[in-house]
């Protein structure tokens, strides 16, 4: 193999990408930078998960006692009756687009190398159908976000974020560092005004529920 500058650059780029992406999988923590500070989210312990369930249940009890809160199935009915927004129809459209996407993938699979135009055409159609499906999914999620179940689920992940997020701080004058909880309690997380609360939540859900 001829060892030239272009090949060397490719290898160096690959190595750099390798080392920067490895943080995603190398252990069960996810480091990230925000406003010049180093943070990490760690996998919750069993105790954290049990406590999070308890927080979710408390939220559920709190919400069902309040007026003007709705379960998902009731919210779907209200959207249909009062706003003419049909969630079930959206779900049907999502399923149809999934079938379309599947058929396009099957067609693409049987196109051989060398038919670059055909390959690209199928890829473009797949992206188009995917984007249409995501649009409808996002709209559905946004409409149902206020349901009791979804608010409880959000509380669950917010609690976990509050206990699983750490920041790297200087421990002493000798520049030794240590990891410390960002928030000392869920209440403190709740009162956080800085966007770090949302960024950390995003990282935690990325670590826990990537599907």
């Amino acid at each position: 193999m001829e060892f030239n500058d272009e090949l060397l650059q490719d290898v160096l780029t690959d190595l750099e990408t390798l080392s920067s992406n490895q943080e995603l999988i190398i252990d069960n923590k996810l480091p990230f930078l925000y406003e010049g500070m180093t943070y990490e989210v760690r996998m919750p312990t069993q105790r954290d998960l049990v406590k999070a369930e308890s927080v979710r249940n408390q939220k559920f009890v709190e919400l069902i006692k309040q007026p003007n809160t709705l379960r998902t199935k009731d919210l779907i009915k209200v959207l249909k009756d009062n706003q003419n927004i049909d969630i079930l129809e959206m779900e049907k459209q999502i399923k149809e687009l999934e079938t379309q996407e599947r058929d396009l993938y099957l067609s693409l699979a049987q196109v051989k190398d060398g038919s670059e135009k055909t390959i690209q055409s199928f890829k473009d159609k797949i992206v188009e159908v995917k984007n249409k499906r995501y649009e409808i999914c996002l709209e559905k999620v946004s409409l149902l976000a206020v349901s009791i179940e979804n608010q409880c689920r959000d509380e669950y992940y917010r609690y976990l974020t509050s206990v699983c997020t750490f920041k790297l701080v200087l421990r002493d004058e000798a520049n030794n560092e240590e990891w410390k909880h960002v928030w000392n309690s869920f209440a403190e997380y709740d009162n956080e005004v800085n966007k770090i609360a949302l960024v950390a939540l995003g990282q935690l859900t990325r670590m826990l529920i990537q599907v």
């Binding site: 990408t17 995603l24 999988i25 069960n28 099957l106 699979a109 190398d113 797949i126 990325r206």
Partner: protein, 128 residues
């Protein structure tokens, strides 16, 4: 496909991680991750893609399918397409194999029916 999935798949199909994956299965003391338990969903996804790409590289080496090429493996969308096609192909093959087995069992149980041409496909019970 989101950015995270792209990164994970790029790692999983790399020579470095494929070699490490292979070594971790046979050499004691070679671990893929720093943690041995409590895996993140990202780690589980990574393990999935490691096994998928291992299978694809093996099938490519064996020339198992005319539609599987290096270019397909390099392209994530084409890889997804091929995996779907492969599942469908093996699903069809598996169903045909089961049907042939059942036909054969039925033939052994009722040889006279087969000889007289009375055998009906509907009589083959695919539930067992």
């Amino acid at each position: 496909m989101d950015d995270t999935e792209l990164k994970i798949r790029k790692l999983a199909k790399s020579v470095y991680w494929q070699n490490l994956y292979s070594a971790s299965k046979t050499i004691q003391g070679v671990h893929l991750f720093n943690n041995d338990t409590n895996y993140t969903s990202l780690q589980l996804k990574f393990l999935y893609w490691l096994s998928v790409y291992e299978m694809l590289y093996e099938e490519l080496a064996q020339h198992k399918d005319e539609y599987l090429t290096e270019k397909v493996i390099e392209d994530d969308i084409r890889t997804n397409a091929y995996l779907l096609y492969r599942n469908k192909k093996y699903d069809h093959m598996w169903k045909k194999m089961r049907l042939d087995e059942k036909m054969s069992e039925h033939k052994n149980k009722h040889p006279k029916k087969h000889l007289s041409g009375e055998m009906n496909l509907i009589e083959v019970d695919m539930r067992k």
